[in-house]
Symmetry: C2
Subunit: 345 residues, 2 copies
Amino acid sequence: MNRRASLLDLAKTLGLAASTVSRALADHHDVSAATKARVRALAAELHYQPNPLAAGLRRGRSNTLGVVVPHLTGYFFAQVIEGIASEARQAGFSVMVCQSDENAAHEAQAIELLINAQVAGILVSRSDATQDFAHFEAARQQGIPLVFFDRVVEGLKGPNISSVTLNDYLGARQVVEHLLAQGCRRVAHLTGPLTVNIHRHRHQGYLDALAAAGLTPDPRLTVLCELSQQGGGQAMRRLLHLSPKRRPDAVFASNDLAAVGGLQVARRQGVRVPQDLALAGFSNEVFTTLTEPPLTSVDQRGEQMGRTAVQLLQRMLPAAGQHARTPRGIVLKPHLLIRESSLRG
Amino acid sequence: MNRRASLLDLAKTLGLAASTVSRALADHHDVSAATKARVRALAAELHYQPNPLAAGLRRGRSNTLGVVVPHLTGYFFAQVIEGIASEARQAGFSVMVCQSDENAAHEAQAIELLINAQVAGILVSRSDATQDFAHFEAARQQGIPLVFFDRVVEGLKGPNISSVTLNDYLGARQVVEHLLAQGCRRVAHLTGPLTVNIHRHRHQGYLDALAAAGLTPDPRLTVLCELSQQGGGQAMRRLLHLSPKRRPDAVFASNDLAAVGGLQVARRQGVRVPQDLALAGFSNEVFTTLTEPPLTSVDQRGEQMGRTAVQLLQRMLPAAGQHARTPRGIVLKPHLLIRESSLRG
DNA sequence: GTGAAAGCGCTAACAA
DNA sequence: TTGTTAGCGCTTTCAC
């Protein structure tokens, strides 16, 4: 079991200085092509692998990207992380994943952990509960670039901060337009806290779709609830208790879990979906094709979002050259997926 | 923006040598209690955070644990990773997650990446496709301890290898005993490749439960299929094509996705679940409570498995003292969760 | 019980 | 274009 080859080993056998080998491997412009070739050949032969710990120590930052998500159990975030992991690996980065559990304190702790680990950058989808954003500022002040994905912190802008989001407004609007096209006239909306960008945008899309169709939104049909199976069930119960005239003929839930919770309550009360009540969710979770009937939803393009987030981060890294530190905000287009729960044929 | 305090900073302000401070912080036994107290007080005051890169470089290994899973999108592995991440953090480790996509080459690549990153240990659930286990041997030979969870490599045993699994045999046996108790007599089994421990054990549990009830297993009722929604659907179609006498009155699928695929096909063909056909899966995925009817399943205790895996790893680390490097195999008890899909009341 | 010294493997300023 | 030098922050002999 022989020690792994070090850069110095390469240098010695080639009769070069360590620094030259280092530069050659980094493809530094003022190393002769011949030298580069020799170095690369030997490196390949010896299966040289740079020691990331040493490089990190020297540079003052590791080659790891930090990721903070509210949780992992849920198709969307898992997908995003798959995208991040795959894109990061191609760029030579490792990925460290932390979860905030929708808890502001955990989120701050995670950021601290990542700063401490001297990550090259942080990708984060903020917890719904977070109100104080000092921890993000702290990262920025350490010179660690931040990319927000899906759930952004809207006040935070600046040279070291980018974002990639879904066009939630458009997604919601398309859902509601589809429901209206099915002949629905009283469309209800189950929403999360409107302080969070995604929920606010989806709600606005809902309102505007109604307005565009010449309908006046009924405030009783917008229900603020926890976007869980239980929360969706409760909200549905409330809606079904309305007088027949006021009762909705369609429900658009801001996520799939709440939609399914609502679906179950409705069916148990003998409401036929989609004939009596058309239903749609948001996120395109795996289980949307497994429910009875399958659930109309909006795909959030998780993997693409993850890949894009890493690309945005790379642009903000010092090594990226001249155009470095350009903050950007990318908005992805949603995909409406129409399934039986909203199809009145 | 002042530089983070280094160990040397502490040493200087206390009039001590760096080595003493280092030992004090590591709670080394021959540092006086008084000195330890002074050091700790100042460290706390200055919010001293050791530089993990430097420590890692010096020690020749980082404070990161590597995790390799087939994929992230799926409740079980996400749960395990939550358990791992939480336990690892408590022990002062970071976690690096890689996915193999059920692909042997990707898996080998991931292990190589982790070895290269000088992780302190590797936690892995092997891909179903892997046949060649040289990459695991390589890790072991680098002195990197391995813990297999859920899916183990059965040939690999030794001083640096532990495992934590579910008692799949028992889980399967409980499921089938429950189905038999519901009055079912022709129980079918949808299984994955029997080369993988989990599938083989589940199948054996199935066979033994039948035998214990005095029934002779009908080989036509064991269907080897891809354990996906589609695969489960196809298998169910095949079973329903059997002559009425041979047709099963219960199906136990080795995972939930296949069970739901089967459920959909059955319902579409007018088979009533559970009256005509009782159904059970395995894994307790989130969606098991969302199907119509909700699906009986076996909880795999993902989070517990993740926590246990990290604990086993710690026992194998050099620092763990005398009893270090003790390999262990822990087997967790499954929890049968009976839901409507198998309840004939 | 504490200190001095060396070095993990790499990179970056500066010199040639 | 290449080499020299220094040092990132920590741990670990070895000496006292």
